[in-house]
C-alpha cells in the first residue's frame, strides 16, 4: 500500500508540474500569443472572446496568484478555453471527439507489439544463437532506428499510394456513419492496419531485446537448473518458470514506454491524417491554436499518468516483494 501511495504522490506531483508549466509558459515567454492568434483568426473573434483569451494567457491586470487560482478552477471544471482553429468549439469538446481514435490506435499497437515482442524475446533467449536469435535482433534494431513517422510515410507510399492495398487516410471511409455494424468495424480495422503496423514494427525490437536480455539471466538461475533436473517439460520450464520471472522488467518498461508510444502514435496520425489527437495537434500547431495545444498536452499527460498508475497496480499484483517492503 505504501508503494502505491508513493507512486500516486509522484503522479499527482507530475500532473501539478504540467499544470503549472502550462500556466507559466504563456506568461513568462516573450511575445504575445494573443495578438498572433487574433491576427490569424482575423475577424471571427468577438471582442469579449479576445478579452477571454487575454485572461487565459495572463494578459489581465490581476495578481499572478489570483490568475493561477482561477486557472486551476477552470481546469478542474474541464474548461481549457476555446479552440481557435475550430472556432468556436471549446477545446475540451474538440479533444473528446478525437481521443477515442488515438486510444484505439495506440492501444492496439501497444498490445500487439508487447505480446509479439516478448514472445520473440523468450524464444530468442531460449535458443541462443538459433534462427530467431540470429535473424530478428539485427533486423529489428535496423527497423527500430527509423523515425516512426518516416516509416509511416514509407508504408503509406508503398501500400497505400503505389499498391493501393490500404486506404491512405482517415479512420473510416467517407460516407459511412459510425455504428456497431460488421461492415463499419471491418472498415475501421482496414484503416487502422497500416498506422498500427508502423508503430508495431518500430517498437517491437525494444521489447524483444529487453525480454531476451532478462530471459538470458533468468535461464542461468538455479531454479531453472532444478526444474530441468526434475525432468519438467521444456515448454513448462520456459513459460511457467523462466518467463514468469523475466516478465517484471517488461512491466516496468511498459509504464515508461507509454509516453513514447503516445508520441509515436501522434506523429503516425499526422502522416495518415488519422483523426486522433495527434492530427489535431498538427492543426493546432499550424493554426497557432495555443489553447488547443495546451489542452492536448494536459489531456495526454493525464492519460499517460493514469495508465502508469494502472501498470503500478499490476506490478504490485505480480511482484510480492513490493508488497512486503
Amino acid at each position: 500500500m505504501g508503494f502505491i501511495l508513493r507512486r500516486l504522490g509522484t503522479y499527482v506531483l507530475a500532473f501539478w508540474a504540467s499544470l503549472t508549466l502550462n500556466f507559466m509558459l504563456p506568461r513568462v515567454m516573450p511575445g504575445d500569443p494573443v495578438s498572433r492568434m487574433v491576427s490569424r483568426a482575423q475577424s471571427r473573434l468577438e471582442p469579449d472572446q479576445i478579452e477571454q483569451l487575454r485572461r487565459l494567457f495572463g494578459l489581465d491586470d490581476r495578481p499572478v496568484w489570483e490568475q493561477y487560482l482561477s486557472y486551476l478552477d477552470n481546469i478542474a471544471h474541464g474548461d481549457f478555453g476555446v479552440s481557435i482553429s475550430r472556432f468556436p468549439t471549446p477545446v475540451s469538446e474538440v479533444i473528446a471527439g478525437q481521443i477515442g481514435w488515438t486510444i484505439l490506435l495506440g492501444g492496439t499497437s501497444l498490445i500487439v507489439a508487447v505480446v509479439i515482442g516478448n514472445l520473440l524475446g523468450i524464444v530468442a533467449a531460449w535458443r541462443r544463437g538459433g534462427l530467431v536469435d540470429s535473424i530478428f535482433p539485427p533486423i529489428l534494431i535496423f527497423v527500430g532506428s527509423f523515425p516512426y513517422f518516416w516509416l509511416a510515410m514509407g508504408a503509406l507510399y508503398l501500400f497505400g499510394v503505389t499498391l493501393g492495398w490500404f486506404p491512405i487516410n482517415h479512420a473510416f471511409s467517407v460516407g459511412l456513419v459510425p455504428e456497431w455494424s460488421p461492415a463499419f468495424v471491418q472498415d475501421v480495422l482496414v484503416h487502422l492496419f497500416l498506422p498500427a503496423l508502423t508503430i508495431v514494427v518500430v517498437s517491437i525490437g525494444g521489447w524483444m531485446l529487453g525480454m531476451r536480455n532478462t530471459m538470458i539471466s533468468t535461464t542461468a538461475e538455479d531454479y531453472i537448473l532444478m526444474a530441468e533436473a526434475k525432468g519438467l517439460r521444456p515448454g513448462r520450464i520456459m513459460f511457467r518458470y523462466a518467463t514468469r520471472n523475466a516478465l517484471l522488467p517488461s512491466v516496468t518498461s511498459l509504464g515508461l514506454s507509454l509516453g513514447f508510444i503516445v508520441g509515436g502514435a501522434l506523429l503516425t496520425e499526422v502522416v495518415f491524417a488519422y483523426p486522433g489527437v495527434g492530427y489535431q495537434l498538427l492543426s493546432a500547431v499550424q493554426g497557432l491554436d495555443y489553447p488547443l495545444m495546451q489542452g492536448l498536452f494536459l489531456t495526454i499527460t493525464a492519460a499517460v499518468l493514469v495508465a502508469n498508475f494502472l501498470v503500478d497496480i499490476v506490478y504490485v499484483r505480480l511482484d510480492p516483494r513490493v508488497r512486503v517492503s
Partner: protein
Amino acid sequence: MALSTGGAAAPAVPAPDGPGASSPDALQEGSAAARRARGGRRLLAYLLRSRKALAGLVILLVFVATALLAPVVFPGDPMHITATGSLPPSAEHLLGTTAKGQDVLALTAWGARSSLLVGFVAGAASTLIGVVVGLLAAYAGRTTDSLLSLLTNVFLLIPSLPLLVILAAFLPSGIGTVVVVLIITGWAGSARVLRSQALSIRGKDFVAAAVVTGERPSRIMFREILPNMASIVMSGLLACIIGAIGAQAGIEFLGLGDGSTVSWGTNLYWASNDGALLSGAWWVFVPSGACIALVALALALVNYAVDEITNPRLRTPARRRSATDPTPVTAAATGPGAVTETGAAGSTKGTAR
C-alpha cells in the same frame, strides 16, 4: 565533447580498487592519466575488433564527413530553386528534385549539418545534466536524493512529444530553442539510470575510504565514482543522441522547427507539405529519413558493442546453444554473483530505452 573522452576512459578499466587507492599527488596523478590513456586505447581496440562497432563507426564517419564537406561539394544555398520541380533521379540531379525544384541530394547533405549538430549537442548536454544529477543524488543521499529522484521521475512521466510541442510553440523559434527543448525532455532518462548505478558504487569500500581520507565531494563524485560507471555513461550518451536526433526530426516534421535551416526533419516536413507522398515522389522523402535511420542505427550498433564488451553474457555465442543443454562445467561457468550483475545491467538497459 568532454564526455566522450571521459566515457572512453573506462569500460576497459573496471578495477574498482584502482582509482580508490590514488591520492591527490602529482606522481599518482600522472600514472592515473597514463592508465586512462591506456584504457582508452584498449576500449578503441575492443571496439575495432567488434564488427558491429566498426560498422557503426564507419557509418558515423561518413555522415560527419558529409556534414563537414557539404558547403564544398554543394556550394550555395541548398534551398535555392535550381531546376523544374519533381524531377525523378537523373544524372544531373542524383536524387531528383523537390516539388519546388530544389536538389534533393544537396538538401540531404546540408541537412546532415543541422541534424548531427543538434543531435550531438543536445545529447551530450542532456547526458552531462544526467551525470551531474545522478551522481549528486547518489552521493548526497537523504533529502537531496529524494528531491532529485522526484524531479527525475516527474520529467520521465510527462510524455515528451506533447511537452516538446508546447515548449517549442511558446519559445521563440530557432535552432537554439530546439536544442534547449530537447535537453529539457532528454536528461531525465540518463539521470535515472546513472543514479542507480552510482548508488551501487557509492556503497563500495573504496568510496568509503575516499570519504574517510577527506577527499572533496566533487572529487569523489567525478574522479572516484564516475570513471567506474563510464560504460553506462557512454551508452547513455549514445541513447541520448539517438533520442535527440529522432525528437528533433519529430518536432520539425510537425512544423515547429526553424523554417530557415535545412535539416532532415525540415526536409521531411516540406516533403509532406508539398504532397510528395501522394504525387509518388518517393525520392523526396526517402533520403532524409534513411539518413536519420542510418545514424541512429550506427549509434545503436556502437551502443550494443559497448554493452557486449562490458557484459560478455549478451554476446551471441558462435555455436547454437539451448537453455536446456547441460551446463558446461569449465572455467567459463559463472557463479551467482555474475548472474545478478547481468540482471542489473539488463534492467537498466530496459529503462534506458
